[in-house]
Amino acid sequence: MSVTSSETRQRSWWRSNQQRLTPWLFLTPGMIMFALYVVWPIFESFRISFYDWDGLGEAQWLGWANYQELFNDRAFKTSLKNNVIWLVLYMLAVPMGLGIAIFLNQTVRGIRIYKSLFFFPFVISQVVVGLMFSWFYAPNFGLLYKLTEFLTGKGIAVLADPDLVTYGIIAAGLWPQIAYCMILYLTGLNNVAPDQIEAARLDGAKGFKMLWYVILPQLRPATFIAVVVTVIGALRSFDLVSIMTNGGPFGSSRVLSYYMYEQALSEYGYRMGYGAAIAVILFLIMMVFISGFIWKMVRDERGVN
């Protein structure tokens, strides 16, 4: 008797709390992974950034010395400046993606093929994009070098020029990023209400006014996502820099993520603590944007409810 009564009591406890517990049960595996692979490393990076450590031997407490050094480090300033250039120029992907999306949003024979071709650069790996552009820019045999040599008599080797190199890499990065924004806008354009367009047309709106006051407001969700992925893409730009220049010439094309890798993990990098300090700065910069995005999302959600 007592056994069954305790069973019923248990079952009833489960029954009464089921609704509340189930989401947590489903969330637990993800939360454990998130804590282990995201949250804990963040705190670990903060901790390591206060040490002088080569990744092998004993770590030595330094306090804020790594950060003090960062602020006098010219390589760090170059990386930070390049990150800002990346952030600003990468944003071009959003309007350019919109332009191509509007251009492709028509019903012509074989439009699907054109759309796929425009989307193609996003599908291929960043490493391949980087290699293709390094050949494009390559001194002596690259297409761009040959072209500028033909036109001006003197070839331009973009990746050897400390002033041009970052722009050259960003151009390579924009190619797939524009395709990504384009696809976001194409799906967004499918959802634009045709009756509103018709109504606007009856009111005499066309051209840019139509785009600005009727189409764009309806594309706001797509714009939001496009901006988010572009900002994050710009801040974590690493693969293209690594493939195309290794941060060179003499560190002119470094960005924070690459400088972090260089200091902590690369061939000559044995400064885990310093690398971690760079990672912390990069994290704080990203946090500004990410908090902004989350704040906007929460606000929108509340607005809807």
Binding site: L56, P139, A160, P162, G248, P249, Y268, G269
Partner: protein
Amino acid sequence: MLHLKKSAPLALGIALLAGTSAMAQQRTLNYYADFDPIPLAAFEALIADFEAANPDIDVVLQNFDHEGYKTAIRNFLTTDAPDLANWYAGNRMAPFVNSGQFMDVSDVWADNGLDESLGSAIASMTIDGKQWGVPYTYYQWGIYFNKTAYEQVGAEVPTTYDEFVANCELFAAADIDCLTTGTSALWPGAGIFDYLNLRTNGYEYHMALTSGDVAWTDDGVRETFAQWARIQPYITENHAAIDWQDAATLLVQGRAANYVMGIFAVGVFKDGGMTDETLGFMPFPTINPDVARAEEAPTDTIHIPAGATNVEDAKTFLAFVAQADVQTKLNEALGQLPINSGSTVGSDPFITAGFELLSTTPGGIAQFFDRDAPAEMAKLGMEGFQEFMVIPDNLDDILGRLEQARERIYQ
């Protein structure tokens, strides 16, 4: 960056082959290495000989991508140490020695009389009075040149730096790069700096500079850069975006005349179609006749990680690699020079030239800038060299920065 274990299937194949040859109880010896194709073949032959001599040992070679290995080694030494691992002599091994990741192998040296036979390399293998690995090859650096280009402009092969600079004007008139290099991976530029510095200030100065005892703003360093400035306008433009192999192509095509390189580049030149008739080798010309001639000859080495499980057999392997006849055969296949004084060198003109050059060096033999200097200084230094070759006017700025780094790194 990329941790490609390119030859894992190959290593497996070797393991299977070895497995069939001896059915008796075998002990496994795990060996991690970073060989390019030619050295890989040479080492496969060496391992086959070793297994024939020691049928109870089975060497499993895991070959890594050459550049990826340099970052992978730190992971595997601490997590999954093999019994043997490739690395380099000089200061380059210091981080692993100081953190206790490499095993002291002084007993292998003492038991096999290596202090005698490998005497030329003992200094670069010694830290804290102990030896930390066994060297198996070294190779000379110098200037490789295109004989056809020299004939075309009517230049004589120079012996002094003044003649070299004078030749550069002849080459420039014919639209040929006097000196080519490809510094996208930075280290080729360090070869030029090292030689200018060795010829201007000598071996002792090079060692003092790389061990942090001389300021980068010192007059000696400035003199080296002043000599460098004389040839700077004649160095291949855009070298900062060129790989060393692509610069080798320029020499092969006759668009460049001279290239400061190691002997390992000869294979690339010959693959490109050059022969002993068109490819020449000369020692770096004399700058200051009062400075004893010193050369650059980096040494490649094998070490036992502290986490090795089969230490006994690893030491047997090191002793085997140190033998005179083994080094003779190995280096013949590598196209490089053996360390063991009892070894003989092949008849290839570039190898005999290198052997001649190094065995008669009065000044001393340096490893290389990035092996003599600590890792961080090496990286900053090589970036500075690259910047100087692109924007020579930045010299004061570069030296000031390097001096600042020196004060921090060697404290």
